[in-house]
Symmetry: C2
Subunit: 498 residues, 2 copies
């Protein structure tokens, strides 16, 4: 009897051990499986779903950038209307596209949809039409490196935005940062490579950890369109203004040297600079960069699923993912860490809003001076002060996250703006007194986005209805054309592989 029991127990134990062994083998297979490609990717394959067949874990996490239920990068609802939240911006950007529409971008998944939708791209009716150049597509899609490889870089930058609407259809994704053969991180945008060359650096020497920031720096940087490139005159060639350095002052000096301005301000007539989103430049001045932390470490931390460790491609605010993003290093309560971030943001915002008030006043005071007959000579220095102060403000404000990534540098740059605009407004006060107006200039009611847009004479309703037409007529055509082209491409590729 005793032996029989022992026999049964042994049999059961052996059976369970067998199951355990099988499970371990399967796990190992699962881990290996990752590296066996299911499809062969073409060199310029722009479709994320094709890459996703080989890398389902990464792809499925990427797809979560479509989720807008969370806060996206900055907290708050998915698509904040920034002009609605802060109507001063309408005046600061009067005469420039951003005064029409400036909503916080959603996740990478929406890159194409959002650029179709924004009023800034206007409502072209077909090729050769619309306010924006083709260069505006550069950061929106893995179709961009495809087109550059197929046709050439300057050729890509040439023509109107609407010219390439049927070509650029896949939202930011795999091929923007990865080599389709080796899967290594790779730089696909020539502007970053060329900017490194201008600084005397070779981007090919970057370490893997540096690449985990540099792939982001292809787009999350300050840039401008150079229309004077020798041999490419007239083509709005995408360039980063890093030749003298990446600080607000170094870039300003560069822009001043080449006498570049993004637009002439509608009210003050100042030759303005628009800071895009110098996120990489400001990040570099902060303590996380100093400690060797990359963009991906916080915005794409490692994740584990089914025994596989992989990089979370749900690129998002670390505040949505404190456990994996922050608490790997910071052994503090998650709520406390978030409060630490909010406090830095709040303190930066306090002075940023005051600075905006001063800039708004300066533009309107300058307009008053022009109205009273000021001369170009009288206005020259004043307009330079406005240009420099607003550039510093925009550098601090537009670099999303700067007040956290680098709060001390951000405060330093805003302090600089406050000093410059003080001198500018003093000159304006004296000039206005000279022109017979020795009193504060009356300020218009710009307390809402609508009032501010009305003040600068924008017919937003018209822009919106034109945009609706564009979305109804041209966009479906683009997408249809792209679908046929891609189907064709797929069938060719399959025949090639087989």
């Amino acid at each position: 009897m005793k032996n029989k029991v022992l026999f049964i127990v042994t049999a059961v134990v052996v059976f369970l051990l067998g199951m355990l062994a099988s499970s371990i083998v399967n796990r190992k297979n699962e881990a290996k499986y990752k590296y066996v490609p299911k499809v062969e990717l073409g060199e310029n394959e722009p479709r994320n779903e094709e890459w996703g067949k080989n890398f389902p874990a990464e792809y499925q996490s990427y797809l979560q950038t479509a989720d807008t239920s969370f806060a996206s990068m900055q907290g708050g609802s998915a698509m904040r209307d920034v002009l609605h939240e802060d109507s001063r911006l309408v005046v600061l950007w009067a005469g420039y596209g951003f005064s029409k529409d400036y909503s916080q971008g959603r996740g990478h998944y929406y890159a194409i949809e959002d650029i179709h939708n924004t009023l800034r791209t206007g409502a072209p009716e077909g090729k050769g039409d619309g306010p924006m150049p083709a260069t505006c597509w550069t950061c929106k899609s893995p179709d961009v490196p495809r087109l550059m490889n197929e046709n050439g870089i300057a050729e890509f930058y040439s023509g109107k935005w609407a010219d390439k609407g049927a070509e650029v259809v896949n939202p930011i994704g795999c091929a923007d940062c990865h080599d389709s053969k080796t899967m290594k991180l790779t730089i696909t945008r020539p502007a970053l490579v060329e900017a490194f060359q201008e600084m005397g650096k070779d981007i090919n020497q970057a370490t893997h950890q540096e690449m985990r920031s540099l792939v982001c720096a292809q787009c999350h940087v300050e840039y401008y369109f150079d229309k004077k490139l020798p041999g490419k005159e007239g083509v709005p060639y995408l360039k980063f203004p890093w030749k003298n350095g990446m600080t607000a002052e170094a870039m300003e000096e560069y822009y001043d040297e080449i006498e570049f301005s993004d637009w002439t301000h509608q009210l003050s007539r100042a030759p303005m600079l628009k800071a895009q989103h110098p996120g990489y430049e400001t990040y570099l001045t902060g303590v996380h960069a100093d400690r060797g932390v990359s963009c991906a470490d916080c915005h794409m931390p490692y994740k584990s699923e089914g025994g596989q460790k992989f990089t979370d491609h749900h690129i998002q605010s670390p505040l949505n993912n404190v456990a994996n993003a922050c608490q790997v290093c910071h052994r503090e309560d998650a709520e406390k860490l978030k409060l630490n971030v909010y406090e830095r943001q709040r303190k930066a915002t306090e002075n940023r809003l005051k600075l905006e008030d001063f800039l708004v006043k300066a533009h309107i005071e300058a307009k008053k001076a022009w109205d009273l007959g000021a001369t170009e000579a009288q206005m020259k220095d004043i307009l330079t002060d406005i240009r420099h102060a607003q550039w510093r403000w925009d550098y601090s404000a537009a670099a999303h996250g700067a007040s956290f990534h680098s709060p001390v540098e951000t405060a330093r740059v805003m302090g600089g703006a406050l000093t410059i605009i003080q001198e500018g407004r003093l000159k304006l006060a004296r000039l206005l007194a000279e022109l017979g107006h020795n009193a504060p200039v009356e300020m218009p009611d710009i307390s809402t986005k609508e009032k501010a847009q009305e003040y600068i004479g924008l017919d937003v309703e018209k822009l919106k209805s034109e945009k609706e037409e564009f979305k109804k007529k041209l966009v479906p055509k683009w997408l249809e054309e792209a679908k046929n082209r891609e189907a064709d491409y797929s069938s060719k590729k399959v025949s090639m592989v087989n």
Copy 2:
């Protein structure tokens, strides 16, 4: 033969074991020895050398605060002449003692000598003479709690500084922070206890870790002299302006409410506030405080000598002691950690100097307005702007270490100052235009301390020679008198104990 060798080896090993055992016992004794007092300390014992007999390790480390070969708190040479380094300060403090002399304090060991020497305390010829009240001794010596216990608090604050020269002679030391019976940390200055009461807090509830900052907060804070205290009218009673909070804005609001000013500015006639050294208040807004790090953790880290672990009483800049101060938490290279501090300081300094330029200009522009016949009513708001802006500047600048302890808050407060002084100077420009002067106001040459002091009409040579007289005649008398008193006290105490 073999046995003989074994016997000898055993004997040697046993002998060495005996030595080891003896060494361990001695070590234990050494550790115990610390707690056996050699002398019995009187309740109000002010002499550090008496305490040192019971606590030689702590006392000997305290004595190192006499060492000026290192940088003291801020780096650089031992006693920096701050007015020499930044002559704008002479104008900012015109009409106030700090424009005469402002040198960086040395270690606690020199507290008495340095207050004798500074031109700010003048050259009294005896009791009842000189510019300063007795209250100015409050933070300088453990004789202060002794005198307060012996005679009363308001009695201590009464009279002139020179009245108590023979009583206050021992430099800041043991009895300022420790209870002579229990050796526990204790608050000896009533101002801190009273400030907590005004905020509705009980300082007796403070934890030991909080006390490791609060003993410092007895002195390293913002304070003022309240001459209107009910029942003590006319006595310059030491108070902390914390009733509404400890931020720059909360303290300013408090001072505005009670219409307090430290002095009337000599040039602008603005009712000024002098920030003393709100080090504790600014520290509280920084990340180290947020993480529960106390003043002592960095400025008095633990140290080990002869098997004893004790608190290093060589209070100094953590930058002189990175291994014990910073690297306990921060696993970074010491040089990198120092560079991180210097970078924060440099960025704060950049905007601070610009702000000082604006404040200097505002004072001189205001003087010009008075000279041109401005009325009190025309000047009122302008002077308030100057008061508020300079207060914020001083709050950021005078809190030694604020640009490191709390760089974001410091930048926020300086940004506030930049916005206020902008509005003030615009009002001034318009007023000056109205008074017939529509141009930048000519600035005097204040490029050196000497030129700036000459501009505000200070006869520094006279002050210096008077100070020499004072040091030659009165100081030796004070010290002689104190020596006799203390000898008398010692002999009485010894007879009491035996």
